[in-house]
Symmetry: C2
Subunit: 349 residues, 2 copies
């Protein structure tokens, strides 16, 4: 029983030629029915379809791609897929693209500019039909993307995006609003000494969040104390260092806005260690609505980014760009889109 030759359900080789031969047609006709071209008799169309089904014919995407210069796959460059917002966005991008017949090739830059450069090169040589990119924290020079734009490969930036002169579609969260909401919330609650822990100010999202922060401070007529503003890569270790500085001597801050939930979580952690009661003596707001922010005690007030909406917006835009083919004008449209954000108030404020 076990040694019987395996039943060959799926014939290895059947090309458009084979089908054509058994049906006494030309390969061109087969191709036409497969691609729903007009000018083929409906009788032969159904004959072909039947045979296609019978032999389990699967088109060879490489042959087609070689001819049409399309791969039906889009590349994605992202710092790290395990970052919450990105994971969510990617999930919806992948699902949406799949519905439209595209494969998604996901690449991680690990926040390394060098890696990002290499990945755009390999995606370019892979002949992906388009690329979606969320840049490194440290990407200030975007010229390595030129190879795509100057060769007509649609390019969409999201989240961490270049400042505008760069000729590509940009879809970003409303980070200045997010920054404003967070700061205004603290101010409304009566905070006077508000610290702000920002990411490096070369990155679009942190620039914007800071802008929003300043706007709120301005509006509430609270002067910004530069001793309470910090700029560094937003991870737990850095957050801890900053907290040590902040709590080295009194007066302590009474509110902290962290531009990042992992930072906010560490802020909270430190505060608990120091027995600073949250929110009584210290109010904390984070950014991104990381799942952890909801389950920590006290739970974290944070800014929701609606990653699913962002993902859908990206795909919608992408499909547009793929529709208007290289025949389009040299400067097509290059839309810039901003997706909304919202404050989620929890127990830390």
């Amino acid at each position: 029983m076990r040694l019987l030759p395996m039943k060959k359900k799926f014939s290895e080789k059947n090309s458009i030629h084979d089908i054509a031969k058994t049906l006494r047609l030309s390969p061109a006709t087969i191709s036409r029915v497969l691609n729903n071209h007009p000018h083929v008799h409906h009788a032969t169309r159904s004959r072909v379809m039947a045979m296609v089904k019978e032999v389990g014919y699967k088109p060879n995407p490489m042959a087609a791609g070689l001819r049409t210069r399309k791969t039906n796959s889009v590349g994605l460059i992202v710092p790290r897929i395990s970052m919450y917002v990105h994971a969510e966005i990617i999930t919806t991008i992948q699902n949406e693209l799949h519905r439209h017949g595209y494969n998604l090739i996901i690449c991680q830059s690990n926040d390394s500019v060098e890696m990002e450069k290499e990945l755009t090169r390999t995606l370019y040589t892979s002949r992906v039909d388009a690329v979606i990119a969320a840049c490194t924290l440290f990407t200030t020079d975007f010229s390595h993307f030129d190879i795509l734009t100057s060769n007509g490969v649609p390019l969409i930036f999201y989240d961490r995006v270049p400042v505008r002169p760069y000729p590509a579609c940009i879809i970003k969260g409303d980070d200045v609003r997010g920054g404003y909401l967070a700061a205004a919330h603290l101010l409304e609650l009566g905070c006077k000494r508000i610290a702000y822990i920002s990411g490096p100010l070369v990155c679009s999202i942190y620039i914007d969040r800071f802008t929003g922060f300043k706007k709120a401070m301005d509006q509430f007529n609270v002067a910004i104390d530069n001793d309470l503003i910090f700029y560094h890569e937003l991870n737990a270790e850095n957050a801890r260092k900053t907290m040590r500085k902040l709590f080295a001597k009194k007066p302590y801050p009474d509110g902290i806005f962290a531009a990042n939930d992992v930072t906010a979580l560490e802020v909270l952690h430190f505060a608990k260690e120091m027995h600073v009661p949250v929110p009584a003596k210290l109010k904390i707001v984070g950014y991104s609505n990381d799942p952890r922010s909801a389950i920590v005690t006290p739970s974290l007030t944070t800014v929701e980014q609606f990653p699913e909406r962002t993902g859908k917006a990206i795909v919608a835009e992408l499909l547009q760009l793929l529709k208007v083919q290289p025949a389009s004008s040299p400067v097509p449209v290059l839309p810039e889109m901003t997706t909304s954000v919202g404050l989620i108030r929890r127990m830390s404020t």
Copy 2:
């Protein structure tokens, strides 16, 4: 200035033919140097390399793939990339594969068997060189993977894997050990009424964890009370329902092993709501070392799965399988590998 025609850094069309022509060589020779074939004079080799660099030649993977029947890309099917362990595993798989020149095409089944079937079909027709799969919770029939195995596409299952007669490579965590460690830990701490919240018993990981659980109970001579064992999909809502049942009447359990951290987190949440002191009156152990388990209060004891190791093991195995080409015997080796786990004790026990 702005209207100047864009400098064409990257020439659109340069094939192996073009290079051959300008160098007065044949395409075959160019191909040979590009692929490091022997029997090409080192002088011409360097001439070719120079020209390749000069014109910025990029090979067309589709043409090559059409000829060689290789795509240099591998497909990955996973329930959801935002699940912690999977995100980590995928991250390392992607990084490792990239180092070896492979693209990774990531697909999400969303735990839907139908989707999983469709995805394996599309991956097959995409001609990926291999596929890696973590199955759906509900996949009991694995025949939709036959299309791969019977056509010689290397296939590696990980995490949620078929029971063994299926002819594919399997790499799994040592879930029976994990289950054992968790239960033994509770037993050592003196728990007498231990509840176990399991995933559906059709899924390999939950079968194994349960086996480990039973082994420990056996070893400690504690009878299993079937009223304290629950099987259902492991999400927060289900966990809450189960907890309501468990705490509907006394005596309460004094230890709970949840086969999943999100379940364990909800268990803890519920216990806190009920003012059941953890770990004093109730000890909780989770599974996977989700980042949330470390920051919740009290922090969760859980089973670490070392996702990075798993990811590396998968890629190592994959590269082996890709090396021994279709020339291999009908039943190559089909290794089965188990990666280790470890208990992380925190404040919930």
